[in-house]
């Protein structure tokens, strides 16, 4: 059925991915920076504009497809992954992105989220995490901190938050990453890797909501604390952080836990520090890293936790279709209707 363009892909600029509709996000919203990075990243991805589809649910972030000059669907609250799944399975040659938020993906859409990840469908999900319900004007979200005071939790939230990358890893995602709205260059690198990954992609983007949760990530982004608060994960490099890059993450073989060490003190050498490898087939270390952000005294990891190639559900579906076709071969309606016990009436 596919009318998908196979002609040479034009040389695109950022402008080719702008729909011309002015985004209606609040001034200062982190979403502006994210869409800017996505539009900047797409020209280098090497996919024709008409073969890219953005699917979203409901929430501030979910207005995203309207501002992209691609095919787009703005669907129902939490349900974007289900549309994306049907689209990807039926048209595997399309590049399918899902844009969602913390409430959309992890509350009402939690079920679709985990199943999309576990199937390893080739769908790229960007989750803008502002730790609040923005479109409904400030209620607690599944990623809001414990004790958070919002309009629906005036005495503080009694609910533990989700750790989104840990949930994605636990669900079987083959690409899991995290970036921050104001870290444009970092986000660009992550988005490019996400676009190139074949399989389920989950990118959490910490996004500031200047109206209902302003400053949610200052603990991570303020100049004074940034170096100690962020752990930049880079493949093949030791997990070092801190002002002079002397702090590191070590795997303690006695406790089977990650710990913070200082290179050069207590006999710790750089070779003792864990080297980041997002390509490990076993997601355990990635899961431990993802959980660091919930632990006191640990930095918050930024970058790619996991990037592993596994056959995707869409690939396997079409392999099965190919095999089934080869087995039965072309037939006619009458032939397949007759594929049962039949009898003649004269």
């Amino acid at each position: 059925m596919s009318p998908t363009t196979t002609a040479p892909i034009p040389t695109y600029t950022k402008k080719d991915f702008e729909s011309g509709v002015d985004p209606r996000w609040c001034p200062g919203c982190g979403d502006f920076s994210i869409i800017n990075q996505v539009q900047k990243a797409l020209p280098a991805v090497g996919v024709a504009r008409e073969n890219i589809v953005f699917v979203s649910g409901i929430g501030c972030s979910s207005r995203f497809p309207y501002y992209m000059n691609n095919y787009g669907m703005h669907t129902l609250h939490g349900r974007a992954p289900s549309f994306a799944s049907g689209l990807k399975i039926s048209r595997p040659e399309l590049q399918v992105w899902v844009v969602t938020g913390d409430g959309d993906a992890l509350a009402i859409g939690g079920n679709h989220f985990i199943h999309t990840m576990r199937r390893n469908l080739d769908i790229k999900m960007l989750m803008f995490n502002n730790r609040i319900y923005g479109l409904t004007k400030g209620q607690v979200s599944p990623t809001s901190e414990l004790g958070k005071k919002t309009k629906t939790t005036p005495h503080g939230s009694p609910d533990y938050p989700f750790n989104a990358p840990a949930l994605a890893l636990g669900s079987g995602a083959t690409f899991v990453a995290r970036s921050i709205d104001i870290e444009g260059a970092h986000m660009g690198v992550v988005l490019k890797a996400a676009a190139e990954h074949k399989g389920s992609v989950f990118v959490e983007i910490f996004q500031n909501c200047p109206v209902f949760n302003d400053g949610a990530y200052l603990f991570l982004t303020e100049k004074a604390v940034k170096a100690d608060a962020q752990l930049r994960m880079e493949a093949g490099k030791p997990l070092l952080f801190g002002k002079d890059n002397r702090k590191g993450i070590r795997f303690n073989t006695q406790t089977a836990e990650l710990e913070v060490v200082t290179v050069g003190s207590n006999g710790v050498a750089e070779k003792d520090v864990l080297v980041h490898d997002p390509h490990r087939a076993d997601p355990t270390i990635a899961f431990m890293l993802a959980n660091l952000s919930d632990r006191a005294g640990f930095p918050t990891p930024i970058g790619i936790f996991r990037d592993v190639r596994k056959p995707t559900a869409d690939e396997m579906t079409w392999e099965m279709i190919k095999a089934a076709k080869a087995k039965r071969g072309e037939t006619s309606v009458r032939k397949f209707l007759s594929d049962a016990e039949t009898w003649q009436v004269k």
Binding site: V55, H74, L76, N111, A324, R328
Partner: protein, 617 residues
């Protein structure tokens, strides 16, 4: 080979047989095997299985009884039959739960070997009903120890006593083959094929089947055999289909004839699951199936595939339809083609999953928030499910709209002979995608044609990139619009478009005189019962006609005039009067009488005839 029997053979026009036993007794198999033999003998027939929602309720209990009814004859058969003429009961619980349905004077074939003290207690019998003299007075009782005879047939086979016990359904089948003069060779081949992987069981079952047949012939308790001559069916090649199989075959036919992918996104739910299972086997014919994580994702994936250009469908039953409501609204406002098949079951809530009902007419017509009309049609018989699926998809694609196809558990599980259409007999339809800009070099996804149908441009088409969504859209560009007058225009336009579908809805045909004392109006799965009742009433000289509705929205153009041509209207339904209510609202002045049964079963022809006679006085 069976030797010709010396027993007298009586010719009968039609017979209804019900096989009942414990869930583990293999009654579904026995019933369907006997059905196949009837079909091969050229009978017209209809079947209906009746089994508990639990896969295996405790053995021997009343809750664990499973049944299979078949009505076959030399004349047209429209229903699986009101009352069995023959009841084959494999244990006390089966007898207890089914005896009341047996026609007075009917034949009761009972496995007395299962009437142990323990089983009698489980069936809550205080004494053995087989010892009751009134049983023999009211019915022709043939009491056979199938347990013992099966054991004897398999003596020295080396099978365990459990394996031997599981063969006894073939003893019952053998008796029935003899009783209805069926040739046995074909069944022996079937047994060998069915148990090909376990030759020792194939031999055992074949042996027991032959023993049952020989028992019928030689024992003196059966005084005669019966023969039901072949029916006059349209010439052709036939197979049996259940309604669920037929829906799957219909969608596979659509894929084949249009050359377009048919995508099914679904989630297992009784009684609709078989459609997904059946369609999964058509991967090589252009069908893609996807078992989603829940009902909502089932339809969501289908709408996603529809946006991508597939001919998309989703299958479900009542509770699932309720969950899909919001999604149906989205398909409707985005105006993407989609077929939602709802195999109705007893509701509300979980209700009676394995029992039939027609109580989802209202939710199909009105069960969405906002102004959200869509086309609704209903299949009338298992084989009609095939044509209904094709028609529903054709309408969805032509009119760019979701369409609801209603079937029900009675049709979905029931089976009847299906004439396989000749090559070229079933026609495909055009599926057109917009490939060029339609408005001064731009693409306007909501620029409509004179029928108010919007174009369908799909991803991969350069220059036609556009966005659709659930927010109200501008009547031309499809961009988000909060303009009140635009909203009103869009609401009215969407409603008018669905109203325009009436051009594809044929006028109803009146079966019988165009005017008269009473018009029976049926829809969906009650067709068979109402048609049979109307036929019998007509032969009794009653001025009764029958109209069957395939389309529930839009209603056929001539329906109002037809309704007004009769003194009285009676609407029989397996619900509390939903069509009757709808007709009152649609045709002011029309006030149908109602006949409602909501007992999980099809309407009995005899009850309906009784009701009509009561009305006509």
């Amino acid at each position: 080979m069976s030797t010709p029997s010396k027993s007298p053979v009586e010719k009968v026009d039609s017979v209804t047989i019900r096989f009942v036993g414990d869930s583990g007794d293999g009654m579904q198999l026995t019933g369907s095997e006997f059905t196949k033999a009837s079909a091969l003998a050229g009978n017209d027939l209809a079947t209906f299985p009746d089994f508990p929602a639990e896969i295996r309720a405790p053995a021997g209990t009343l809750a664990g009884v499973s049944g299979y009814q078949v009505n076959f004859g030399c004349r047209d058969i429209y229903t699986p039959g009101d009352q069995p003429d023959v009841l084959v009961a494999m244990n006390p619980a089966a007898l207890k739960t089914n005896l009341a349905d047996l026609r007075p004077g009917g034949m009761l074939i009972v496995n007395n070997g299962a009437f142990t003290e323990q089983n009698l207690e489980k069936a809550q019998y205080k004494s053995n009903p087989l010892d009751d003299a009134t049983l023999k007075k009211n019915y022709k009782v043939l009491s056979v120890d199938m347990n013992k005879l099966t054991e004897a047939a398999l003596a020295g086979s080396g099978l365990s006593s459990k394996e031997i016990a599981r063969c006894k359904n073939y003893f019952a089948l053998g008796i029935m083959y003899w009783l209805y003069s069926r040739p046995i060779d074909h069944q022996i081949d079937n047994i060998r094929a069915k148990f090909a992987k376990k030759p020792e069981l194939a031999e055992a079952n074949a042996k027991v089947f032959k023993a049952g047949h020989a028992f019928g012939e030689t024992s003196e308790i059966f005084h005669q055999q019966y023969i039901v001559p072949a029916a006059k069916l349209q010439a052709g090649t036939y197979r049996n289909v259940t309604g669920n199989q037929a829906v799957a075959l219909g969608f596979a036919t659509v894929a084949k004839l249009t050359g377009r992918q048919v995508f099914l996104g679904s989630y297992p739910i009784t009684p609709a699951t078989e459609i997904l299972q059946e369609m999964a086997y058509f991967k090589d014919q252009g069908v893609v199936t996807y078992q989603a994580e829940d009902e909502i994702a089932g339809i969501g994936s289908a709408i996603g595939a529809s946006f991508g250009g597939s001919l998309a469908c989703t299958t479900t039953s009542g509770p699932g339809l309720a969950l899909k409501s919001e999604m149906i609204g989205l398909a409707l406002i985005t105006e993407l083609p989609l077929v939602i098949v709802n195999v109705q079951r007893g509701g509300p809530s979980t209700g009676m999953p394995t029992k039939t009902e027609q109580a989802d007419l209202f939710i199909a017509l009105f069960g969405r928030h906002g102004e959200a009309p869509l086309p609704v049609l209903a299949a009338r018989s298992p084989s009609d499910c095939y044509y209904s699926a094709i028609e529903a998809m054709k309408i969805a694609v032509k009119w760019m709209t979701p369409v609801i196809l209603l079937t029900d558990g009675y049709l979905g599980f029931g089976s009847e002979p299906f004439r396989i259409p000749e090559e070229g007999e079933v026609k495909g339809f055009d599926v057109k995608y917009q490939t060029t800009p339609n408005y001064s070099g731009q693409y306007m996804p909501y620029l409509r044609d004179d029928k108010l149908i919007r174009p369908w441009a799909i991803p991969g088409t350069a220059g036609l990139e556009h966005r659709v969504g659930g927010l109200e859209k501008d009547s031309l560009s499809g961009m988000v619009s909060y303009d009140g007058m635009n909203h009103e225009k869009m609401v009215k336009t969407r409603a008018q478009k669905v109203a325009n579908v009436v051009e594809d809805v044929p006028d109803v045909e009146v079966d019988g005189a165009a005017t008269g004392d009473l018009l029976l109006v049926s829809w969906g799965g009650t067709y068979g019962s109402v048609k049979s009742a109307a036929n019998q009433l007509k032969t009794q000289g009653k001025k009764v006609s029958h109209v069957h509705l395939r389309w529930l929205n839009p209603l056929p153009r001539n329906l109002g005039a037809v309704l007004k041509s009769f003194k009285k209207i009676l609407v029989p339904e397996v619900n509390n009067g939903q069509l009757a209510f709808y007709l009152r609202g649609s045709f002011p002045g029309v006030d149908p009488l109602q006949f409602n049964r909501i007992n999980g079963k099809a309407i009995k022809v005899s009850e309906l005839i009784g009701k009509v006679n009561e009305i006509l006085g």
